[in-house]
Amino acid sequence: MSTRLYWEIGKRAFQRQLAYRTANLAGLFTNACFGYLRGSVFIALYQTERSIGGYDVSAAVTFTWVTQALIMVVFLWGWWDVEETIRTGDVVSDLAKPFSYLGFWLARDYGRALYHLLFRCCPILLIGEVMFGLRWPTSPVTWAALALSLTLAVAISFAWRFTLNLTAFWTTDARGIGGLASILSTLLCGLLVPLPYFPDTVRRVVEALPFAGILQIPADVFLERVTGAGLLLALGQQALWAGVMLGATQLLVMAATRRVVVQGG
């Protein structure tokens, strides 16, 4: 199937977001408030310490704002678009369409993510810069790596959200289960606290999980905490998880399709 089709799907999804301007402004305000509150907490942490988990105070504050800015890019909570089509039954016609079901939704999600990158992430970073002063990337290589890292982060988070949505094929309580699961992902992606803050044994585990690829790794790329071989390794970890999870999701789609065919929705 032509890439042109997915390009068009993504473009539509981008344009669709333009209708929710006021909601986006409200969200901007929310993210900025939390950026301020968390930033203040981190500054207080460093009253007595120079470095915690390898982060000095300016790195920690920047980390907070970058993760706040990215919440909507990776759409951390409350994405139930697919579950809704399953509940209403519209999914049957979607599955029957002559293109990849997974690709269709992935293209839409990239369109949406681009919108949030431009109209949510960028303004939040600017606000953070004005309020606290952030540590910006110094090398053009970092920006390129960041673009790649974010692309992979969206793919990982998409696969995770998509899987939670697909459970609606097997349970009527997908949102409840998804709500529980998203508490887990929130804790393990680095939003509340950088993963290196965790005790060392725990840290090694959580840094290897796919959730680290959603916020922790892009934020570390932004901060240039990973460079050279370390950068390649980090991006490789993201790519690996993105591939594995998208593959698993595709298998799930096939299982769901069989189920729809057998039961007729």
């Binding site: 006021t22 909601a23 402004l25 409200a26 969200g27 305000f29 929310t30 408030c33 939390f34 509150l37 968390r38 203040s40 907490v41 500054i43 207080a44 942490l45 009253q47 007595t48 310490e49 915690i52 988990g53 009527t172 309580d173 949102r175 409840g176 289960i177 709500g179 529980l180 508490i183 929130t186 804790l187 509340l192 606290v193 803050y197 965790f198 005790p199």
Partner: protein, 267 residues
């Protein structure tokens, strides 16, 4: 009054019976409300694993702030749940129906839902307080017990009023709802840490405008026998009921203005 209490029980009970049809969801919602608080507190524990003190406060002392704000917020969410779903009433136009019934609008919104699922979060907050007591071994004089009891009741009232005020904004616009809710969600996050880590303007805001400082910070200073870095006297810790009454009055006024505005403009 008695009639209203009986009617409240009846309406809330009916709502509860309706919700029972989704029992699985109820269980997961309780669990979710427990886990969110747990996850957030876990972060505090993680942070204190790396540093001994936060702006001079120990983990146990921060736990007092955390527990108090969690309990008050959860209780307020439980009773003010009707105001939480109120934006939907405005959007769908069902608020018109409220105004055709021979009961006050405030009462009807209040009685439209009681979020019992928040009980998990209340218990969670209490557990955090127990943990704080375990690590601090506070001596509970009668005065301190009085402050604690007054604080939980007043804190609930303050958060309740805040939720009402946020909901009232929907009479003007529902689109800014997320921004308005920063006051409640952000407010809880804010008062879970000692207020002296924030800028002075925010502390003043939390004392004189949206008196969230009286939910946890000032009472905690009193109970923990800590001096206020801003030099306020210790008896400020007793003022939570006053702050709650004043803020409750403000919420009631704002609500009345909102209803009148709605009657002037319709949906």
């Amino acid at each position: 009054m008695i009639r209203h209490a009986a009617l409240y029980a009846r309406l809330v009970g009916a709502r509860g019976r309706g919700q029972m049809q989704y029992r699985l969801s109820f269980a997961t919602l309780v669990l979710a409300s427990v886990l969110v608080t747990l996850a957030e507190f876990l972060v505090v524990v993680v942070i204190f694993g790396r540093i001994p003190h936060l702006a001079g406060w120990s983990l146990g002392e921060v736990a007092v702030l955390y527990g108090l704000s969690a309990i008050s917020f959860a209780m307020a969410e439980m009773f003010a749940a009707g105001f939480d779903v109120f934006p939907r009433q405005i959007v769908q136009g069902t608020f018109d129906r409220v105004l055709t019934r021979p009961l006050g609008a405030f009462f009807q919104v209040l009685a439209s839902e009681l979020a019992l699922r928040k009980i998990g979060k209340v218990a969670q907050g209490a557990a955090i307080l127990v943990y704080a007591q375990h690590s601090l071994a506070v001596h509970w004089s009668p005065e301190r017990l009085v402050v604690l009891a007054l604080t939980v009741v007043s804190g609930t009232a303050i958060f309740f009023s805040l939720i009402v005020i946020c909901a009232t904004s929907c009479f003007w616009t529902v689109q800014a709802n997320e921004a308005v809710n920063v006051l409640t969600n952000g407010g809880t996050a804010m008062i879970s840490y000692p207020l002296d880590i924030y800028h002075a303007w925010l502390r003043r805001l939390a004392t004189f405008v949206v008196p969230l400082a009286f939910v946890s910070y000032y009472p905690a200073l009193y109970v923990l026998d800590r001096a206020d870095p801003l030099g306020l006297p210790a008896w400020v810790g007793f003022l939570s009921p006053v702050a709650a009454a004043a803020f409750g009055f403000l919420a009631w006024t704002v609500w009345s203005v909102g209803v009148r505005h709605y009657q002037g403009t319709g949906s």
